[in-house]
Amino acid sequence: MTSPMSLEQLQRTMGAAVMQPLTPEEQMQQCDTTGRFSGRAMADVAGEFIRPNSRLTSFERLEIYNRQYWFRIQSAFHEDFPGLRAVVGPERFETLMNAYLQAHPSRSFTLRNLGSKLLAWLTQNPQFAGSRLTLALDVVRVEWACIEAFDNEELAHLTATDVAALAGESRLALQPHVQLLALTYPADDLVLDMHQQQKRESSEAGTRSEDVDEAPFKPLRLRKRPTWLAVHRADLSLYYKRLSRPEFQMLSALRDGRTLAESLEAGFAGSRLSANTRLNLVREWFANWAELGWICKQQ
């Protein structure tokens, strides 16, 4: 007779079993595929800690949790990245999603952060995006920016008095919800149609979203066009604002903590615009940013 597992051992064992990938038929693997259980039959693994009843074997009882785990995180991923699915197609998306979720299971108490490593992972694993890698990466950038812009903090923005007191050495900051993106494609056009303004809610229901596999796949065509974009929040709604390259560069420099003078220099690096034109542009930008409440004091 084996001695009982400690609580921690049992949770580590069950956790590994529950998070093991499903078969293509969305059932629990007959044998361990992760190496966590040395390739053993999962029926034997389950039998070591789960009691059968008159209707279900230990394997079948564990399988309920294994399926629930994957259905829940797959649903969350589908909700967060509908644009990526539209770019790579539903079949490739399923493969990409499962590989990513296996490499990066949730490390946060909230599913909101599930896709936080997707851009880096897809960059390192381009084979999962197929031939449209550049567009796929752009769409991921926009979709993750939407998540950040939706619920990131909003700090007090600069007042007119604050603006009047600015000097070349001033260091400013951007609102945390303002996300700046430099894209190869105008991917915001694609994402705009697909994103709902209201986000997923956590719940304890053991259900799977029904619309996951029902969205029709339409191959999308998008021409390359360098695009500078801010994804931001205003009046509690998400907006996409196209930026000029100098405006993007200046905002990026401000965000990165450079002084106002350095940011101006960065904004117009390589530009042939006259000093007067630059001055007018900067005035226009600041008026616009002030209206949007984008600029804050550095914390």
Binding site: Q11, R12, G15, I50, T110, E154, P176, Q198, S202
Partner: protein, 288 residues
Amino acid sequence: MAGNRFNGFQNHGVGIGLRIPHYDHIFAQKPAVDWFEIISENYMIDGGRPLAMLDRIMEQYKVVQHGVSMYFGSAQAPDREHLRRLKNLVQRTKTPWLSDHLCWGSIDGTYSHDLLPLPYTWEAVEKTAARIREVQDFLEIPVAVENVSSYAEFVDSEMTEWEFLNEVVERADCGILLDVNNIYVSSVNHDFAPMDYVNAVPAERVAQIHVAGHTRYEKYILDTHDHPVIEPVWQLYARAIERCGPTPTLLEWDDRIPEFDEVWAEARKAERFLQPASSEEPVLTGAA
């Protein structure tokens, strides 16, 4: 009974879970709901629409926080960032009590986002009670633990689920969120009499009651929160009210969410049991 120390001596009446599809109706119609339960994790964020909507709701209604990822039964220490954000929200909502589940769900920093069952062992009793005390001390408000629906039983279990619950809440000195639907679901899945469970719970610790619907499959029941409450669950509820007295009651409806009026009408069915309790024992029908 006008509440107890585990629900801040509140008698909130009947409430429903606050869900996004109902926002427009709530703001436009201002329905006479006694209170809303919010899922804490949906509002443990830094800004944006969810918090603004919550603030609007709190101008008109009482809210109580209910969590889905504290995982009182996890063997490892709680995530400090989670606790810090939870306390910020507690200070914002001034929730009179806070609930989460008697389960585990994370290990070595990886989250399942599921309510995984615990083995009913003395080690789990000790560790779970200690964690509840730690959270309760940190948050400085009463904590109630909810019994979960489960689909598996452990080889190592040394007691029944209700014995386990009772041991934990006594040692943690915390309240109970008694989910009578979860009792029903687990009773079918594990072949026990659900009324035994309801009768064994320490009535003086019941801070709140949940009712909900579920989905019955051929070999088991899944706790889906996407149907009306079935009559056997109302019978368990009736018995719980008979034992505990009027207790804040909440209908959970989390998927395939119907119109607000349908959800509210389903919740208000609880009111017939919240009237002065009959001396007659309710008869349980239909449960396994």
